[in-house]
């Protein structure tokens, strides 16, 4: 029976939301093809995550649980994934377009002589072939691409696919681990932030050139915190040094697809629009009614953001209270 393999990313014993999305999409593809779904879990002290993974539809969980697997080691993880691929003879391997998923997918593809289709937003079968839709030019266009040869490695864009719980109890296969020391992560420092990460956030409040300075982002952050949102920025505000490049949305920053994107003081340069135009709902706040951002916005307010953003925050607080 044919097989689909999913890599379920976790950090610090927590499954990433996009890992659940990948498992669910794997389940959907497996059901359509009458295939089995295997999920590979790698880390240390993570045995209990097998149950969670099975709860999203895994038939088999390939578990590599070993003290040597923290911190993250790209070469070791890629080798384990290749082992799982050999063991399952999967024709499709799904990962997420996260920093870890991007790195591992390329290493795995080269190891396994497989093609890699990255940042995919849609998957379907055409007979035996997987056909995917993926953005190019940071979302200014899309390609439909067919995988002609198995196996094929695919990374899925976070926040696009639905995660759906299922009843199920996967069997667990324990994997043998040997740690490869060729690339060593010597330090991982996570910024303790109450805000979600940009590419995973379901709401993003973003500020552009109209912010006028780093100190003015306070009103953006306040609105973001009321909505449980991440804070984004345009290239202009990153180049001006007001925000870090980690916050940049656009063709030379991050490509995001939240449920709600609130663009404040962002004119809507084509390279910014490329990074956010797949957001499900877009709000533009800009004093210039001719700003291109209004062309992609679902809702707009033509006014000074310094008046509107605090008013939005008050209104949101009142409504959500």
């Amino acid at each position: 029976m044919s097989q689909i393999l999913v890599f379920a990313e976790q950090r610090d014993g927590q499954l990433k939301s996009y890992a659940l999305e990948a498992i669910s999409e794997g389940r959907r593809l497996a059901d359509k093809a009458g295939a089995q779904l295997s999920v590979c879990l790698i880390g240390s002290g993570i045995a209990d995550l097998s149950t969670a993974v099975a709860g999203y539809g895994a038939d088999t969980v390939y578990l590599a649980d070993d003290g040597g697997l923290t911190p993250y080691s790209p070469a070791t993880y890629a080798k384990l994934l290749a082992d799982a691929l050999t063991a399952t003879s999967a024709t499709v391997v799904l990962l997420s377009s996260s920093s870890m998923g991007r790195e591992l997918s390329a290493l795995l593809a080269a190891k396994s002589d497989a093609s890699l289709l990255s940042d995919v937003v849609e998957t379907n079968w055409d007979g035996d072939h997987l056909v995917v839709k993926r953005p190019v030019y940071a979302g200014k266009a899309f390609l439909r691409v067919a995988a002609k040869r198995a196996p094929v490695v695919v990374t899925l864009r976070p926040n696009v696919f639905n995660a759906a719980e299922q009843s199920g109890s996967g069997t667990v296969e324990h994997m043998a681990v040997s740690v490869d020391q060729s690339v060593i992560v010597t330090d991982t420092s996570l910024i303790s932030s109450s805000r979600p990460e940009l590419t995973e956030a379901s709401i993003i409040v973003s500020g552009g050139r109209g912010m006028g300075g780093s100190e003015n982002y306070k009103i953006i952050e306040e609105l973001a915190d009321t909505l449980g949102a991440a804070v984004g920025a345009s290239r202009a505000s990153v180049d001006a040094g007001w925000r870090s490049h980690a916050d940049q949305v656009g063709q030379t920053g991050k490509t995001v697809s939240p449920n709600l994107y609130i663009a404040c003081g962002i004119s809507g340069a084509i390279q910014h629009l490329a990074g956010m135009n797949s957001s499900k709902c877009i709000v533009a706040i800009n004093s210039d009614p001719e700003a291109p951002i209004f062309k992609v916005a679902d809702y707009g307010i033509v006014a000074d953001l310094f008046d509107v953003v605090p008013a939005l925050n008050d209104a949101a607080k009142e409504l959500l209270a």
Partner: protein, 251 residues
């Protein structure tokens, strides 16, 4: 120190995508082509390392048609010593793995101490070729470097991960991909531009063994219906928040 920098020529970020007559790739008429922005950081870092070492050689390696030479000449104008172009037809539709294999074959013969590239090419957004090179050349890969330190035969980078940063170390020779923030790429000086014209650029015909994927069609994002201007002042805020909750159902 011998450093190979992989450079791709891509449409400028201001490019408006128009689909070409093949229905699978962009119409290149009226497109301004530039060096991939992330590759500029890779070139700058290579030049800085050579300058710090006091001697060495930096080679720019590209794959594509003859039309990609301007990006290579730009790298040379910045200070790169020489270039090799692997000439292929229709690289735009090629599979990343086949490109990585062709580049790896060439890099093997160069025996570099370091291979640098941009973290991603902003046209295909494939995010794969440089990391694949590591596997094919049996070299460690350090992707998306925001900073780089070289000491005692080791390279150490810092990179962004979801919600924080990671410090990662590997022995050289290795492959490093450049993220924005690694450095400030220099502008080619007039003297550099003149010199670049005389620097050696070797063109080699290669064939891609390309059967893994097939591009079926290119499409543009669906056109959205016109949005609604809710108001022209802060008094519209309450109405907007209501619409977001009740109509769009996103908060």
């Amino acid at each position: 120190m011998k450093i190979v920098v992989c450079v791709k020529q891509v449409p400028d970020t201001e490019t408006k995508v128009v689909i070409g007559s093949d229905g699978k790739s962009i119409d290149s008429a009226d497109v301004k082509y530039v060096m991939n922005p992330y590759d500029e950081y890779a070139v700058e870092e290579a030049l800085k390392l050579k300058e710090a070492a006091g001697d060495g050689e930096v080679i720019v390696l590209s794959l594509g048609g003859e039309e990609v030479q301007p990006a290579m000449r730009t790298a040379m104008a910045m200070g790169v010593d020489s270039g090799v172009l692997l000439k292929v037809e229709n690289a735009a539709l090629a599979d990343g793995l086949s490109i990585a294999k062709a580049l790896a074959e060439e890099i093997k013969t160069m025996e570099p101490d370091l291979v640098l590239a941009g973290k991603i090419a902003i046209d295909g957004y494939g995010h794969q070729v440089a990391s694949m090179l590591g596997e094919l050349l049996d070299m460690p890969v350090l992707p998306t470097a925001k900073s780089l330190e070289m000491a005692d035969g080791k390279a150490t980078i810092k990179r962004e991960i979801e919600g924080g940063t990671e410090t990662v170390t590997a022995n050289t020779p290795c492959i490093i991909t450049a993220e924005k923030g690694l450095n400030e790429p220099r502008y080619p000086a007039l003297k550099g531009i003149m010199q670049a014209k005389r620097k050696p650029l070797e063109i080699k015909d290669v064939a891609l063994n390309d059967e893994g994927v097939e591009v079926l069609e290119m499409s543009l994002p669906p056109k959205k219906p016109d949005g609604r201007i809710v108001g022209e002042g802060p008094e519209a805020a309450a109405e907007l928040i209501k619409l977001l909750r009740d109509e769009a159902q996103v908060i």
